[in-house]
Symmetry: C2
Subunit: 539 residues, 2 copies
Amino acid sequence: MTQRILILGGGFAGLFAARELRKRLPLDVRIELINAENYFVFQPLLPEVAAGAITALHAVTPLRRLLKGIKVRKARIQEVDTTRRVVTIFQGVQRRPTEVGYDHLVVALGQETDLSRMPGLADHALTMKTLEDARRLRAHVIERLEHADITQLPEVKREALTFCVIGAGFSGVETVGEMKEMIDRSLKYYPNVWPEEVRVVVVEYAQNVLGELTAKLGRYAAAQLEKRGIEILLGRGVQSATGTRLILSDGTEIPTRTIVATIGNAPSRVVQDMPLEHVHGRIKVTRDLRCEGHDDVWSLGDCALIPMKDGATERSDFAPPTAQFAVREARALAENMAAALAGKPMKPFRYKSQGALASLGARRGVAEVWGFKLSGFPAWLLWRAYYVAFLPGFQTKVNVLLNWVMDAVSPRSTVQLRSYTPPAARYVHYRAGDRVFEAGTRADGFYTVIEGAVELTYPDTHTGEPVTKRVTAGQHFGERMVLGQERRSGTVHALEDTKVLVLDREEFLKIADAFPVMRGYFQGYMKQTYDIDWTPGQR
Amino acid sequence: MTQRILILGGGFAGLFAARELRKRLPLDVRIELINAENYFVFQPLLPEVAAGAITALHAVTPLRRLLKGIKVRKARIQEVDTTRRVVTIFQGVQRRPTEVGYDHLVVALGQETDLSRMPGLADHALTMKTLEDARRLRAHVIERLEHADITQLPEVKREALTFCVIGAGFSGVETVGEMKEMIDRSLKYYPNVWPEEVRVVVVEYAQNVLGELTAKLGRYAAAQLEKRGIEILLGRGVQSATGTRLILSDGTEIPTRTIVATIGNAPSRVVQDMPLEHVHGRIKVTRDLRCEGHDDVWSLGDCALIPMKDGATERSDFAPPTAQFAVREARALAENMAAALAGKPMKPFRYKSQGALASLGARRGVAEVWGFKLSGFPAWLLWRAYYVAFLPGFQTKVNVLLNWVMDAVSPRSTVQLRSYTPPAARYVHYRAGDRVFEAGTRADGFYTVIEGAVELTYPDTHTGEPVTKRVTAGQHFGERMVLGQERRSGTVHALEDTKVLVLDREEFLKIADAFPVMRGYFQGYMKQTYDIDWTPGQR
């Protein structure tokens, strides 16, 4: 009977596993790959996409083009049943679930981000895991520059021009370096923004940047970043965040409207729910890359905990979550699976890192290759050469090179494409004393208090005298939009640290119009609270 | 005192007016331009962006780069007060309104799209006016190909592979031609889609395509499109649309999940609300491009009705809404304003069209220039040469040329970037008999009926016997999500032509959790309707 191999995930691990398997297995073995997007994203280029050095479409490659002879499905994974050997998925826009059977399952789902331990961070920080994250960050930074150029309020300008990156590992350092370069090169188009008004900060819990490299290279990287005006705050974690503040573990408050979190790696929900053995959220595999207790389930890449020697216990005994390792794991897995299918013995995975590279932006980098250490322009050039050689897909290589050439000879584009729509219902955090909104401003949402308390001040309907009201958990404010009001009549500020749910104006009005329960409730509420007669449907 | 000139709109008319004014006026005259986006979009290239021939970021140019010596604000215009000479705007993400004063106002806000006269069309059709529209269309078409490649349901496959464009003017013809080229070139990556399964249709109310050109060129264009497998339906308008059907004025039903409307030009709300004289939604101006009765308000471009001779009455007596005319109007306006400020006499606007060009995709075009008629490859080449010469911004020219070269020598990318998030609360239309959802499928939204009626069938909570219920305007279904249910337990179909409001699962659950009125209501409803005891907060 035809063997069916099913690969979950199309990152480095999944893509290369699929290709290596296709090379080694006879054509009657069916290989299938499921990924949330229909493209492969080369993660090391994300900071350059975020900084506009490479345009998003040119930085990625369609999976179907890279995976000849392999069935590709763009789908969300719902559930894995290792007993029935079936994976349940929702394909694209389909609402009907699809069951995909397998004989061998390869789990290569990487890691996601979990920021929930720091209050407000998940709701107010941007992340840098996916291509969409990178596109969002680029649009976000340009919006801040546009805002800073026109605002009349000094504190808003200061917040708009302060950019914080959390984490100074590879991702954090490359992101902060590229972001600074983009801002520096764009400032000439923003005549009201002075270079000294821009503050770019990277916050790191450890005592050095790029902990993966030697201390000396880390110090070089830190010195380079500082020379370019980037502040480095070491030995500090994040306590909490709001839309305008980042609060560090030592109590430092940074007024900012841009927080990029490159920390908080965590397993995805699907991986957590799999009936497999987990250690620290990663799937425990044997040295031949199969999951403990399952001969037909394999795992590799960032989601797997792969021992590099028997009786591994130390962190250094396990394969690190890097692209370099994922690609080698993919080859080892393919060889082992070919051996298993042919009834031959398997080999334990072993690999020694060849080195590490980081770009610092502005044509500077650091590198440690086969024991040699490099820094500055040569390291940056090596970084580019290595990654373009590594990038799968000939056309994507050419596109990336063309983007680099154009970027070197012409100004960086400040075009702000729309890339991310915040959820219509979203949580927002305030610190005690923060202004929520003010009379006269645009009435853009309906607020329900989840935790904490706010104070609302508004003019009495009849006398015009100011009325003050405390609004606490379960209560709401901003509901006058049902009357058709486009501007706020009241002013609201937080009395305590407060979390609210904001529902966008358009969505709120559609529901309030369509759903009789809401209509009836607000009619009564308007009468009772403000003595306003409102006939639903009239605005 | 310093004169302040304020230009509303950054399309062809506004951009060129600003540049022509800056050239002619002394530097102490302050010129300011307000636009919704921070870039200039070259509209004729939009179909190529939608088809992926040019990447979005490379097709547009930052306004700040094109407008040296001119203040640029990215803002939404709220209100124009011609008495106080003040425009109220909301800048970027700011909620505080900003008032901008002027001595002379130039209105160049173009046209928007109004599809509201055809039921369902506004809620189910894509448009082709903005860069975001083009990006959305590209992602939408690729999603349909991905879906068609994996679906098991023949009727879904047929709907997914039928692409309809409404209107066969320049925009419609270029869109349908480029879309067909993209699909043809992408099919090799979708092994389960056969070329003969793809249906691309263009619907036009008139009896010929490209009515702006001669009948002979129109026939040539139609023949070229048909040769490439595009169906042309002439003499038919649109009656209505749903998510899976386009219904034409003659009753023809086309099963489709892609409707692109290039019809329905209409003034924007801001233009309509201006205290100026309007004719058919356009601002009435004199031959010197000032608004009737206002010496300090000027208008040009698609939003203005510009007479080309005294006593103009016929359609041909007025300037047509094309880029070619907008650019000439901009020059005339700048000359007249310079004359007015210097107290010199103004000149009436006059211009004779130099011709027209259309690309048909697949390296074919039609052109009529200075009376000469051209078709096929030479016309297509002329189209590209003319537009790249016309494109403002040197870097953008180079980028577009590079994109074209790469597109000629390499396959079209099928990468599906996310570009559009549908509103969390949106209206959906069904025809009598349509299935709304089915037991077992993903529970993705909460439905309130606005018009019409649906029938809901679900198993009784205790006996499991099927229960049938009619749900009409003001009533709702799909509310079991509050219990944490991820799949539908009931099946719903439309009994009549029905309009519903769908609220996305995530937003619905956030509100139902946070807002006590909703919590309380659903608790009672669950008990009364299904005899289910639900404690809010428990799922």
